[in-house]
Amino acid sequence: MRVIYSGFVVLGLLLLFSPQKMFSQNTAEDIIKHSNDLINQPSAEAVVKMIITTTSGKKRELKYKSYSIEKGKSNLIKYLFPKRVEGQSILMLNNADDIWVYFPRTNRVRKLATHAKRRKMEGSNFSYEDMGSGDSWVTDFEAKMLGEEKLRGKECYKIELMKKPKIESGYSRLIMWIDKSSYVPLQIDYYDEHDPKTKLKRLILGNIKEIDGIPTPMKMTMIDVQGDSQTEMEFESISYNVKLDKDMFTERGMKK
């Protein structure tokens, strides 16, 4: 749950790269490498609305504010809505390897399990890894251009990322559709860790807006194609390269 939010800050940063900066040789490696380089921006701040499907099939809306520094390595999420979770916060350090949660009513900070990278972020169909853990797309996967395809009316690069041997990841491969004009990923398919033929999830990114000159998908929907649920996330606001105090990303900062 906590990391979810760090996640899409990271994703937002992923979208920082602007088309004019793109390289002339658009090989799969180039596109992924330079995307990855652009992902890692110094800081971001966003207000996010998330809609989850509960186990009894109901929709639940949650809203939180997320802060990110050190190129997405440290993230803090503070719930705003509903009232019941207002003030509850989640701190993720070291690319979400270390996670803490704070409950205002009990005034307790709990350290959660470490190495949660592959786990589902609570209540959502996102795992921490889905939102891009550092430069893993470049270091952990082999990129291959599958071709060009039109998706939702936009010309896209279709790129396959195959997991390199001995790498730990929740997925054996990803297939990404990246808009040729804005270089924003419009869709990502995630495949089973042990079976590259079995699709687990699909992330759909839409409602792309220019924020601080950066094309940003304001809406993301993760669909679990094996289960029967989906999670929607929507940026209500986002700012990049904001000045954030490092003290925020501590136990004390969680309680503020």
Binding site: T53, T55, R60, R84, F103, R105, Q226, D228
Partner: protein, 895 residues
């Protein structure tokens, strides 16, 4: 030759009607004898070929494991009331020795009490063992808190799937009971129930023994039959008997509600409603057809004779059908209604022409000879055309469609033969009786004139291009609509509406996140069962997996777990102190109880954000709604009780400790038994559910989370199951296969029917242009039918899709009759043709529609969907025939 045969038969009928009738009576008795062998099945698995691997496996499991069939008594109401209801009703149901093998409504405490901990995963045991390090109240609560913080608050994955959620709820439930009991002792003097401490221990260690929903409002009782679900008589009798017992007991529990569902009651309802539908719709179809006949011809006796002929024909057809098949399925069970709608046409032709000739002065013999020689050929050709298109359905792989083709094909020929055999004799006998009684002589029937049809024919033939343009435009609209038709894959929408066995399925899913439509597989070893169980538990659409491996961990698993059990016993040995709580420890006790409150609150918060509603609801039951802090918090209430009168409360709690400690010690010691579990240690009450009669295969059942009749979910769930093992069977994969097979066969049978009809017409007309003209209204009629279905919101279903090839056989008749008449009257005589033959095809269409329309009265909604499709199809084919055929003929004639 055909004409001579018919002439000779007409003469014999006229001269020896009584002998013929007696012969027919004997034939009918023989047919009745033959038909009595016909049985019925309402299972949709019987619509697939018996040799289909899925069906074969399914039938084997149903035969070998009575646990694969069940009756589920769903009880809902107040917790105490429904538990008492269950305690009272179970012995009564168990007494039904003729039907019931066993009844389950509580967990098997015996086995769990002696071996429970070795069934727990090593990772969970690791966190749990500390709980046994001191059974006194204070250390116990402290260790429970440690465990909760490590298991739930500190691990977001602890609630990540249904099994983990269930475990969390069970733990919280035990804890809730423990807190309630603490409060009871803390606030009571010495009047607590002797069993309170024992109950609290059991609930804490083993959970609520009843199969009850987390909100404690719904309880399930599983009744395992001692017969196979294939035994229809016992299916019906057992369900009715259990329902009576439930109804009787409900009178003593006014606030409790209960109903039956599960495979056995569902089969019972399908069977009973199908049979009832067969009877009701047949009678209604017969009455409607008769009324139409009487209204059209303004006669009474002759239509009654036609009805008698029809009844005898259907009996005869049933007898002939029974030679070929012994069991009617969901699709073929409605053959009588369809034959009534179609078969009456033969009588209409005979009666109509016979009385025309009698009115013209022919004597009975002359009139009958004329009638049979003129209409006999049309009747036989018409019946054969329809039969051929029905028989073309036999190419199908699906038993449902194949047998429908066979039954209706054989049926229509039987009805035609019987009508030619009996109807002439009945008419002659009637005349003989009238003559002998000296009553009025036969007159020409006064049929209702359809002059309007003649006028329509006139207009169309004068404006063929305009008619065709309008018709084509409308057909294009219908085609557009047809492309938007939808298929309703929800099998439950075929079932009778509002019956409890169907409605309760939804209640079960809501209360337990568990659909009663499970899949099954058998394995030769326990290890194989375990492999499949573990794989299935990983699947996100699975709610519950049950197998013998739940009770027999692998050798390796037992080895890994044993050290933890040894540690539990060490803790127990070292901590048999029984120290009383001192007043100085009140602060520590309250602090730990408050910590418990915090932990449960935090679990609830994590569950809320994580969307685990049932865990959240359970937490709310214990600590109240976090949105209104303080209200309904049982833990805070306990703290208040202790603070109000600490000495009194601690005295009570010490009494509680004294009473529960030996029991908790004893149960903990037993539950941590380290001896290896092997198959011979499993009690029959558990083993019998999983092992077959030969003792060589083990059953694994996998229950989905959701209603499987959502087709998208059904497809995904079935694919996931097939990936685990391709031999997995059950209603969900069988239904998916059925939909696929019926869809494919429906197209194939329809194409073959069109081809057969085309070839037959080509042989008849010997001209490709006439054949194409005759086919045009049929093709357009089919398009209109599908377009109209979309327009009125009627979807295709796996039952009514079979109606398409039927419509091809039925809908072609109108065009054939009109074209034949055109050939006699001349191609420019649309007015005459439509006035005369148009009337006949209108009447036959109406009688057919009346027959099919009666299916709308069926409780089984699958029949209703078939009736609607056929009703629209016959109407559409009639209109397209009257509209397009005269226009096309007119153009052809002009050319």
């Amino acid at each position: 030759m055909r004409e001579n045969l018919l002439r000779n038969w007409a003469t014999i009928s006229a001269r020896h009607p009584i002998r013929i009738i007696i012969t027919v009576c004997i034939l009918t008795l023989l047919a009745l004898l033959s038909a009595s062998r016909l049985t019925m099945t309402a299972r949709f698995s019987d619509l697939l070929p018996e040799k289909d691997p899925l069906v074969k496996e399914f039938n084997n499991i149903i035969k070998e494991y009575t646990s694969a069939s069940n009756t589920i008594v769903v009880v809902w109401g107040d917790e105490m009331q429904i538990k008492t209801f269950a305690d009272k009703i179970v012995p009564r149901i168990e007494n039904l020795k003729d039907y019931v093998k066993r009844v389950d409504y509580k967990i098997d405490e015996g086995f769990l009490s002696n071996h429970g901990l070795i069934l727990v995963k090593a990772s969970d045991l690791k966190k749990t063992v500390r709980i046994f390090d001191g059974l006194d109240l204070l250390p116990l609560i402290t260790h429970i808190n440690d465990n909760m913080e490590e298991t739930y608050v500190g691990n977001e994955e602890s609630l990540s799937d249904k099994e983990k959620e269930d475990n969390a709820i069970r733990s919280l439930d035990g804890l809730e009971f423990w807190i309630d009991t603490m409060k009871l002792y803390a606030s009571a003097d010495s009047s607590t129930d002797d069993l309170s401490a024992e109950k609290a221990v059991k609930r804490f260690m083993l959970g609520d023994p009843y199969f009850i929903s987390p909100d404690k409002r719904t309880l399930l009782i599983f009744v395992e039959p001692n017969f196979s679900a294939l035994d229809v008589d016992k299916v019906v009798a057992s369900t009715d008997t259990i329902q009576t017992i439930v109804n009787n007991l409900l009178t003593h529990f006014p606030s409790v509600k209960a109903g039956l569902t599960g495979t056995v009651p569902l089969s019972r309802d399908e069977y009973v409603y199908t049979q009832k539908d067969m009877r009701i719709t047949s009678v209604v179809a017969m009455i409607l057809v008769l009324l139409l006949f009487i209204l059209s011809f303004r006669m009474i006796t002759a239509p009654l004779l036609a009805a008698l002929n029809l009844i005898v024909s259907i009996i005869f057809a049933s007898g002939v059908i029974a030679i070929f098949i012994h069991t009617l399925n969901i699709m073929t069970s409605m053959f009588a209604v369809i034959l009534i709608g179609l078969g009456v046409d033969f009588s209409i032709h005979i009666i109509s022409l016979y009385y025309e000739r009698r009115a013209l002065g022919d004597n009975p013999e002359e009139a009958m000879v004329y009638t049979l020689t003129r209409s006999g050929a049309g009747i036989t050709i018409g019946a054969l055309t329809t039969a051929v298109s029905f028989f073309s359905m036999m190419i199908s792989e699906s038993r449902g469609i194949k047998e429908t083709g066979l039954v209706l094909g054989v049926g229509i020929i039987s009805v035609m033969l019987l009508t030619l055999l009996l109807m002439p004799s009945l008419l002659i006998l009637r005349e003989n009786i009238i003559r002998r009684l000296g009553l009025k002589s036969a007159q020409k029937p006064i049929s209702v004139e359809f002059g309007i049809l003649g006028k329509v024919g006139g207009v169309i033939s004068h404006h063929p291009r305009l008619t065709l343009s309008v018709g084509i435009l409308f057909s294009l609209f219908m085609l557009y609509q047809a492309f938007h038709s939808r298929f309703d894959y929800n099998y439950l929408n075929m079932e009778p509406k509002g019956i409890p066995s169907v409605a309760l399925q939804d209640s079960m899913i809501t209360a337990f996140e568990m659909s009663p439509d499970f899949v099954m597989i058998t394995t030769p070893t326990v290890d194989d069962a375990r492999r499949i169980t573990e794989k299935a538990k990983e699947v996100p659409t699975v709610s519950k997996v049950e197998s013998i491996s739940d009770f027999i961990p692998s050798r390796k698993q037992q080895s890994v777990r044993t050290p933890y059990l040894i540690q539990v016993r060490k803790y127990l040995d070292n901590n048999r102190t029984g120290n009383k709580l001192r007043i100085s420890e009140k602060g520590s006790l309250i602090s730990q109880i408050k910590r418990l409150d915090d932990n449960i609150y935090e679990i609830g918060q994590m569950a809320f954000v994580g969307g685990q509603d049932r865990v959240d609801a359970k937490c709310k039951q214990i600590i109240g709604d976090p949105n209104s802090a303080g209200n309904g918090d049982k833990i805070n209430d306990l703290i208040k009780v202790i603070n109000e009168n600490p000495e009194f409360a601690l005295r009570g709690l010490n009494r509680f400790q004294k009473e529960y400690e030996p029991k908790l010690f004893d149960l903990s010691w037993r539950i941590a038994d380290t001896s290896r579990i092997t198959i011979d240690k499993i009690p029959p009450s558990i083993l019998d559910r999983f092992i077959n009669k030969r003792g060589d295969r083990y059953l694994v059942t996998i229950t989905p989370k959701e209603q499987v009749w959502n087709f998208e979910f059904l497809g995904r769930f079935t694919e996931q199951m097939q990936r685990i093992d391709k031999h997995i069977t059950g209603m969900p994969p069988i239904f998916l296969r059925l939909v696929q097979v019926v869809g494919r066969d429906g197209k194939l049978a329809s194409a073959l029917a069109v081809l057969s009809v085309f070839l037959l017409l080509l042989m008849d007309f010997r001209k490709i242009s006439l054949t194409l003209i005759a086919m045009t209204p049929l093709i357009l009629g089919a398009v209109w039918m599908v377009g109209l279905m979309t327009t009125v919101g009627l979807p295709f279903t796996f039952v009514n899709v079979m109606g398409i090839p039927l419509i091809i056989g039925i809908g072609i008749d109108d065009g054939v009759h009109l074209l034949h008449r055109y050939r006699v009257e001349g191609y420019g005589k649309s007015e005459v043709v439509l006035k005369s033959t148009g009337k006949a095809i209108l009447l036959t269409s109406l009688t057919t529609m009346a027959g099919f329309g009666s299916l709308l009265l069926a409780k089984y909604r699958g029949f209703g969907s078939l009736g609607s499709l056929l009703f629209l199809g016959v109407a559409a084919c009639f209109i397209t025939t009257v509209l397009f055929l005269p226009a096309l003929v007119s153009l052809l004639h002009k050319d």
